[in-house]
Structure formats: structure tokens, C-alpha cells
């Protein structure tokens, strides 16, 4: 049977991906250019008995998502840069309390109100370092409507599997672009459901590291009573200031991501095998970069594309290998130099690393990238 297809906007594809993943709760606040995610879910969630709530502000939206997730619901919010800035404290809360949730950030220009209807890629460092305190982060950066669908599903899977907030970042161009989507059949994409506690209510500890790096999370309103706090806590969930317990918990929460990079990492390469110059680009910019690679090849320049799909944790290993192979890496992104700092860090001087960016609200076009490649070679 032919697959169901549709012409969908990126934001609509995100909402459909959420539904495929089993999302039953959306808490949000209107903000351009993400609002269509909320609009679609306000229509679709009640049809399946799910809940949509438009909260009074961005912080409340994040709070409602965490609260809903604690009852066992797969929960999502969608926003843009200013909204993510406001949510940061509670993103940290979801990190330390280990509450699964998905945060969609449709990136626009900034800082502050910036250019609400223009594209940007300037929230990529914020996705890692926006909230205070040491923590791990997972951030995914799809570059097409189909991939927004599948990465939203994967974001839910990773959130539930690693018991943490997962951010999906795509720029306004991908968010508002319309493309043909093939809907995966049920079962075609993996859908990960939260692990059951595995012990009875009397023995349950919400942060019991003897149950593995990611202790199972029981649902409020089931048979399990437990305590959740944003304070540093011991394995039973209650606050502690005991140095050894605080240290162990903080490290476990970071290691659960860093020890599982193989599972979390995702990237695509295009013509990198013999590349002298690698264009390192994500989101809509990678589409310009792919075009640039084809044009440069026609001119006899051995260019290739490295496209991270998981941006955080940073694809260190493969970026370091490419730095040893290539003469140069051109990091193309719609900001004035963010991920280039990470690329420079792992390249360790093995090749030239340069940046090509713009923040004027226009997309980074292939010609601009090609000029930079020719300059550097």
C-alpha cells in the first residue's frame, strides 16, 4: 500500500512527529516562528484524549510540561529563542530532577526580540550552556520537513530513555518551508516508552543508581509516592548536602549521556571520503552547503559536507578525524561564530578552521560558502 503523503510545513511536521511518538501533552505560549506547532497540536491532541494548554507565559509552559511528564505523559513545548531564554531555569530543573520532556526551538535572529520572522542559528550554544550549573544536554538539528518529523520522534525517545529534556532546534527557514512528507507506518520508526519502575512502591527510589545510569521514573498518581526537588538530592530524591552524594549524582547525570554517545549521536556525510575541504553545517545552512559542494566539485575542488543531526553532545570523534584528513573545515552557520568554537577545539590545529556566517535575516547562500572555500584553499 502506498504511504500516506502530505505537503507539510516544518512546524506541522514537528507536531505530526510528536503525535507519532505518543505525545499526549502540550504546554506552550505563542511565539513566532514556532506557533504552528501549538496550533496543530491544539487541534489534534484532544482528538486522542490528550491535553493542550496555552499557559500564561513561557516559564509556566515549561513548568506545565514537567508537571505533566511526572504523571507519565509524553510532554512537549515549542518556542523560539526568547522563550528558551525564559525557560532556562526550568530546563535545568528537568535536568537535575531527571524529568523527560521535549523542547522545540524554532530559531530566529537575536539577541532579545531580534528579527522574529527571520531565520537564525544563534541558539546553538544556548542549547548546551543556557541553564546554570553543570549538566548534560541533547540537542537535535534537522534540516528538512521529513527529518523534523523523524527527529521529533527521536527526541521523545531520547528524552524518555535518558530521562532528561531534549531540545530540537531548527531555524525559521526549515520551520516554515513546505515539503512532501511521507508518513511512516506505525512501528516503522522506533517509539521508546518510559521504563517501568521494576520494584514495588515500598522499595522504589527515584534516583537509585544501582538500577543503572538512568533509574526508572514512576508516575505520579500510580502506586508510587516519592519526592521531586530541584535541590541536589540523594538516591531517594530528598535533598542532601553530603559532598559524596552530590558529586556522584551530578556525575551520573552527565555520564548517562557521555557514556552513550554511540546511541545518541547522528550525522550525515556527503562526499567527505576524499575531501580537501569539509563544510561543517547544520539545519537549513547544510542545504546551501550541499549545493556548494556540488558546484565546487564541478570546478574540480574536492569539497565535502559534514552535517550533524545530533548537535549536542558534540560530534567530537568524527569532527576530529575529518580535521586530520582535510586541509580545511569551513563552519557555515547563521550566527557570528558559535559551533566553530567547538570545531576549533577538537580540530586541535590539525587543519585550518574558518567560519562563514551571517545574522542579517537572509539565508546563508551557496555562493557565500563557495567564496569562503576558495579563500581558504
Amino acid at each position: 500500500m502506498a504511504k500516506k503523503v502530505a505537503l507539510l510545513q516544518g512546524n506541522e511536521a514537528c507536531a505530526q512527529g510528536a503525535l507519532y511518538a505518543g505525545c499526549t501533552f502540550f504546554g506552550g505560549y505563542p511565539i513566532t516562528p514556532s506557533t504552528e506547532v501549538a496550533e496543530v497540536l491544539s487541534v489534534e491532541l484532544p482528538k486522542i484524549g490528550g491535553k493542550f494548554i496555552q499557559m500564561e507565559d513561557e516559564i509556566a509552559a515549561m513548568a506545565s510540561v514537567i508537571g505533566a511528564s511526572l504523571t507519565g505523559a509524553k510532554a512537549i513545548t515549542a518556542t523560539s529563542g526568547p522563550g528558551v531564554s525564559l525557560k532556562q531555569e526550568l530546563i535545568g530543573y528537568a535536568c537535575i530532577a531527571e524529568v523527560p520532556c521535549v523542547i522545540i526551538n524554532v530559531m530566529r535572529g537575536g539577541p532579545s526580540t531580534g528579527m522574529p520572522t527571520g531565520p537564525g542559528q544563534s541558539d546553538v550554544m544556548q542549547a548546551m550552556w543556557g541553564t546554570h550549573g553543570d549538566h548534560a544536554a541533547i540537542a537535535l538539528v534537522p534540516d528538512s520537513c521529513q527529518e523534523i518529523f523523524s527527529e521529533t520522534v527521536r527526541a521523545f525517545n531520547l528524552a524518555e530513555k535518558y530521562r532528561m529534556p531534549v531540545q530540537v532546534l531548527y531555524d525559521e527557514i526549515v520551520g516554515h518551508m513546505r515539503e512532501r512528507i511521507e508518513f511512516p507506518e506505525p512501528g516503522e520508526l522506533e517509539v521508546f516508552d518510559r521504563e517501568a519502575p521494576g520494584v514495588g512502591p515500598e522499595d522504589y527510589k527515584p534516583y537509585d543508581s544501582t538500577k543503572g545510569q538512568v533509574p526508572p521514573l514512576a508516575a505520579f498518581g500510580s502506586e508510587y509516592k516519592y519526592h521531586v526537588t530541584g535541590l541536589n538530592k540523594a538516591d531517594d530524591g530528598f535533598p542532601t548536602t553530603k559532598a559524596s552524594l552530590v558529586d556522584a549524582e551530578e556525575r551520573r547525570q552527565i555520564d548517562k549521556v557521555l557514556d552513550n554517545i554511540a546511541d545518541i549521536e547522528s550525522y550525515e556525510e556527503y562526499l567527505t571520503e576524499d575531501a580537501d575541504v569539509v563544510i561543517w553545517a547544520y539545519g537549513s545552512t547544510s542545504r546551501s552547503a550541499r549545493y556548494a559542494v556540488n558546484e565546487l566539485r564541478k570546478e574540480g575542488i574536492k569539497a565535502g559536507l559534514f552535517r550533524p543531526i545530533t548537535l549536542w553532545p558534540f560530534p567530537e570523534k568524527r569532527t576530529a578525524e575529518l580535521a586530520k584528513q582535510a586541509k580545511a573545515i569551513v563552519v557555515a552557520e547563521m550566527n557570528l561564530g558559535q559551533m566553530v568554537l567547538e570545531v576549533e577545539r577538537v580540530a586541535k590545529g590539525n587543519c585550518v578552521v574558518v567560519h562563514e556566517g551571517r545574522v542579517d535575516g537572509d539565508p546563508l547562500n551557496p555562493g557565500q560558502i563557495m567564496t569562503k572555500v576558495k579563500e581558504v584553499l
Partner: protein
């Protein structure tokens, strides 16, 4: 026979962090008695708080307890209640937490009339951080950040809640322990947003700075300033100067409750 509070307290979690003379313990006992009266199944009860002395209360109680970020109790609680409307949801916290940093969530939870009971302990001060003035510190009073007397006007929390759309609003004080559980019981039984404001005392950071020589003096003040709403009806404006009303201040059983409204949305969406 002494009331059995222990079955509601988590083993090993006492002593609590509150100072001698603080009224929060009185409120906690009132809340326990009220939950017992309403026979709330603790497995199906979420107790949600923000940050501050009063917000430490949920950690002591055996239930699904959620100690959130500063000011955010009502917003987290809204997520819990929306996702699982069959749960009993109780919020608790202080005046600074609930009406300053959390003021927006407070008024919008009232506006929605979502079914929860919010026990707000108003002790006129930010206690945990050492006695800075809150939106409820009386004008002219001393706090660590109002060394020349507080220039700010105050919030009347109960009026704020009524104005914002809560459908059950009651007030009492820590000096009226029996009224605390009676009002919380009514709040829990009420279908909609119930605000129980308990005027409380903070001898450590408010009392000492404002010439209350002892906890007894503070309790006497609470008793002297509290006027039951029925008694107030027979009093002149002059007699009511410097007093506040107690008891059930407002009740509306007509306004639809939010999760019930959303259940109608689901029916419509499903074509029923």
C-alpha cells in the same frame, strides 16, 4: 488521645527546618488533618510547592510531592492536574513565592479555576533569604532591604485571588489552628481553584525587626487583627481599621472548572 500525625509524615524527615515559633508547622498539621478528613488517598495526591521556608512543607508529607522552582508551584501543578485530572492537587508556599515571582502563575491558575487547593502561608516576609520585604510586608515596616521602612504598598492576597477569578477564597491565621483545617477541607471539597490564605508569623526575620518581643506577641497580634467575616458585618469602617477578615470570603459554585471544560473540548474534538 493525641492526633496521629505520624502516619502522614515521611519516616526520618523530621525535625523540620522551621525556626521555633514559626507558624508553618501549625499549618502543616492543619493540612494533615484536612487531608485525613477528606480521606485523600496519598498515592493519588500531589502536593506542589515553590521555593522558600513554606515550600519545604511537601517534603515532610507522605504523598506525591513536588518541590519546584521559585514561584512556579501553580504552573507545575497545572501540568499535573491537566495531565491527570483524577489526582488531588494541593499547592503550598509563601507570600513572596506565590505573589511576587509566582504572581503571574497564581492569578492565571485562579482565572482558569482549575481544581486545586492552594494553601498560601503569608508571613509578610522572605524568611529563607533572611528577611527581605515581600509584596505583603506592611508599608512602613522594617525588613533587611527596607532599612528606612517599607515604601511599598501591599497585595491583599485574598482580594487578588477573588479578582483573578478563584472560586473559593478563605483566610485565617496561624493563631486559629482549628479554622485552618476546616477551611482547607472546604477548599479540597470545592470543585475549582481554592485559595486558603493563612496569615502566619516569622519571629526570626520579621518579628525581631518589627518590635515583637516574643512569638506570643506575634500570635496576639494575629488574634487581634483577625475579624471573622460575620462579625465584621456588624462593625464600622473605623472599627475595622487595621484588621483583616477571616473565614470564607468568597465562594462561587457556578463558574466551570477548567479540567471539566477541557473534557468538553475533548468531546467536541472527538465529534461527540
Amino acid at each position: 488521645m493525641a492526633y496521629d500525625y505520624e502516619k502522614s509524615i515521611r519516616p526520618g524527615k523530621l525535625p523540620h527546618i522551621w525556626c521555633p515559633g514559626c507558624g508553618h508547622g501549625i499549618v502543616m498539621k492543619g493540612l494533615i488533618r484536612a487531608m485525613d478528613t477528606c480521606e485523600l488517598d496519598r498515592k493519588n495526591t500531589a502536593i506542589v510547592s515553590g521555593i522558600g521556608c513554606a515550600s519545604r512543607l511537601p517534603g515532610y508529607l507522605d504523598a506525591c510531592t513536588l518541590h519546584t522552582a521559585h514561584g512556579r508551584a501553580a504552573a507545575f501543578a497545572t501540568g499535573v492536574k491537566m495531565a491527570k485530572p483524577e489526582m488531588n492537587v494541593i499547592c503550598c508556599g509563601g507570600d513572596g513565592d506565590g505573589t511576587a515571582i509566582g504572581g503571574n502563575h497564581f492569578i492565571h491558575a485562579c482565572r482558569r479555576n482549575i481544581d486545586m487547593t492552594y494553601v498560601l502561608m503569608n508571613n509578610y516576609i522572605y524568611g529563607m533569604t533572611g528577611g527581605q520585604f515581600s509584596p505583603c510586608t506592611p508599608t512602613g515596616d522594617l525588613a533587611s532591604t527596607t532599612p528606612y521602612g517599607n515604601p511599598d504598598p501591599i497585595f491583599d492576597i485574598s482580594k487578588l485571588a477573588i479578582g483573578a477569578g478563584a472560586t473559593f477564597v478563605a483566610r485565617t491565621t496561624a493563631a486559629h489552628p482549628r479554622e485552618i483545617d476546616k477551611l482547607i477541607v472546604k477548599g479540597i471539597q470545592h470543585k475549582g481553584m481554592a485559595i486558603i490564605e493563612v496569615i502566619d508569623d516569622c519571629p526570626t526575620t520579621y518579628g525581631r525587626r518589627n518590635k515583637f518581643r516574643s512569638v506570643i506577641d506575634m500570635m496576639k497580634r494575629l488574634k487581634a487583627e483577625a475579624v471573622p467575616i460575620k462579625a465584621a458585618a456588624k462593625m464600622t469602617a473605623e472599627q475595622l481599621e487595621g484588621k483583616f477578615l477571616t473565614g470564607v470570603l468568597f465562594e462561587d459554585t457556578e463558574k466551570p472548572e477548567y479540567t471539566a471544560q477541557y473534557a468538553n473540548v475533548i468531546k467536541k474534538a472527538q465529534g461527540a
